[in-house]
């Protein structure tokens, strides 16, 4: 098991968002976190990343407790973050966006280079000198994933990668994520777009009002899909 989240409670100021969320991700798995807008998906990822540390509960990464550590340390031990809204640095060029994210490879961990990243996202290569703010939504999304890869993560947190993208761009992005998966990348994927995560994921969790309502494999879930439908659509 690479990630184990146990019974976390997270709040923004006085508003409590997560009420005892627990989830597990095994190495090499793609796990989806589904649920409506406001169900607590982003907060779960922010808790793992240390951006909004949980008030209680435990988060273990490769057996090490990371709850309460600052985000930069969590990133350094091997978690890559692809946040909602992409958050690329708009004034920095594509190359610079990737450069600031470079971290030396940990022993036994993956080692990404600009060349390898451009192999995965060939569309980015000719745009190296363009400022991030002048990229299209799909290009920005690729850049965010590429940027996270430059830190040689062993676990990638993807928050709503398909949001706001045209259907053809979404399917292209799906192919690239499954390529990452084939290379053995472990991914925790938050989505509102159920169809997008369907093909990619091994297992899934459904969140509602800050609690896990369902957990199981994709195959099991599909047998009983209709009864869970209300938790997924707006």
């Amino acid at each position: 098991m690479i990630l184990e989240v146990k019974d976390i409670y997270t709040a923004y100021g006085l508003s409590q968002i997560l009420f005892g969320v627990s989830l597990k991700v095994n190495a090499g798995e793609v796990v989806s976190l589904l649920g409506r807008n406001g169900a607590g998906k982003t907060t779960t990822l922010r808790s793992i990343m240390g951006l909004t540390p949980p008030r209680s509960g435990s988060i273990k990464f490769k057996g090490e407790e990371i709850a309460g550590k600052p985000p930069y340390q969590i990133a350094r031990i091997g978690i890559g973050s692809v946040p909602e809204d992409r958050r690329i640095f708009p004034d920095l060029t594509v190359w610079e966006n990737l450069d600031v994210a470079i971290k030396s490879s940990r022993e036994g961990g993956p080692s990404w280079t600009m060349e390898r990243v451009f192999e995965l996202f060939p569309a980015l290569e000719p745009l190296q000198n363009r400022q991030g703010g002048f990229l299209s939504g799909g290009e920005q999304q690729m850049l965010t994933i590429a940027r996270a890869l430059m830190g040689n993560p062993e676990l990638l947190l993807l928050d709503e990668p398909s949001e706001g993208l045209a259907p053809v761009v979404v399917s292209h992005l799906g192919q690239q994520i499954s390529k990452l998966r084939e290379e053995g990348m472990t991914i925790l994927l938050c989505e509102q777009n159920f169809r997008f995560s369907l093909d990619l994921s091994d297992r899934l969790y459904i969140l509602e009002k800050g609690e896990v309502r369902y957990e199981g494999s994709m195959a099991e879930f599909l047998k009983d899909e209709d009864s869970w439908r209300p938790y997924l659509t707006v």
């Binding site: 985000p71 946040p83 640095f89 920095l92 600031v100």
Partner: protein
């Protein structure tokens, strides 16, 4: 009104240019700290004042050492930078999460504290530091004398500007600093220790203020109140040039320096007024400054 002698006009332009280089040193540190940390540091002028007093103190300490002035400049400005690091680490850091008013009140409190501190230690006397031996004397420009020291300052300014521009644009540290200015949380999620980066930026900004104070000591009197005078002018520079814009600060400093120097020739009593009028005009026409950009919601 009689027209001034053209050669005198040239000299006055050069004086304005000298003043502009000091303003640039101070204002670029102020702008850098604001751009990256989001802190408007009122105490930036106090750091400049400390730089001048420290240099005065060290020059008298190193009196028998060759190159005493330069040693005083180096150690004096570094001491100011060290004070900056203490301010950032222990006092400002807990305030980043608070609202801006708290930060402003704190840096304003520092202005009062440092000003009293200077008065207690150095009193209200006026000090001056003599120019370094190799730069004593003046050169003849169109029949007028212009101090060698000021020429060095005029040449030093663009060098420092170019160095900083190069670091910001073409080094990894520079890229990190620009990224931190845009989205510090994201940069942290990418594994960069943003707290440490903030300390480095504050160190550099404080050092520039200290260096400005150290280098100005042979040109201008070291007196209580020089802190407030310089911070007001530095704010005007960044307002005119555009807060957070590097070349805007350089341009703003050049403009303020010239307006000040030439304004004295025309209406000596109103020389300060011209600068405020200019700032008001810029604020009306381009509220984000000449080379700045309109604020965007993040």
């Amino acid at each position: 009104m009689t027209l001034p002698d053209p050669s005198f006009l040239v000299i006055q332009c050069l004086n304005g240019l000298t003043y502009a280089m000091f303003l640039f040193l101070i204002a670029s540190g102020l702008s850098l700290i604001f751009g990256v940390l989001g802190i408007l540091n009122f105490a930036h002028g106090s750091l400049y004042m400390l730089g001048a007093y420290f240099t005065h103190q060290l020059v008298s300490l190193f009196v028998d050492t060759p190159g005493q002035f330069w040693w005083a400049v180096i150690f004096g400005s570094l001491a100011v930078a060290a004070i900056g690091v203490i301010i950032e680490r222990f006092f400002l850091r807990p305030l980043y999460v608070r609202e801006e008013l708290n930060q402003l009140l704190f840096t304003y409190a520092l202005v009062l504290i440092f000003s009293d501190f200077a008065r207690i230690i150095w009193g209200t006397d006026q000090f001056s530091v003599s120019r370094p031996a190799i730069l004593k004397g003046a050169v003849d420009i169109l029949g007028q004398y212009f101090p060698k020291y000021n020429i060095v300052i005029i040449l030093l300014g663009p060098c420092i500007a170019f160095l900083f521009w190069f670091i910001l644009l073409h080094t990894r540290w520079g890229r990190m600093i620009r990224a931190a200015a845009l989205d510090r949380e994201m940069l942290g999620s990418l594994g960069v220790n943003v707290s440490r980066l903030f300390t480095v930026v504050f160190f550099v900004g404080a050092w520039m203020a200290g260096l400005g104070g150290a280098l100005v000591s042979p040109v201008s009197a070291i007196v209580p109140g020089m802190d407030v005078e310089v911070i007001v002018n530095a704010f005007i520079v960044v307002v005119i040039g555009g807060l957070g814009s590097f070349w805007g600060t350089f341009l703003g400093a050049l403009i303020v320096g010239q307006v000040y120097a030439l304004g004295i020739l025309v209406f000596p009593r109103l020389s300060l007024v011209f600068i405020y009028v200019l700032m008001a005009l810029v604020l009306i026409i381009r509220p984000w400054g000449l080379l700045g950009r309109p604020l965007q919601k993040r």
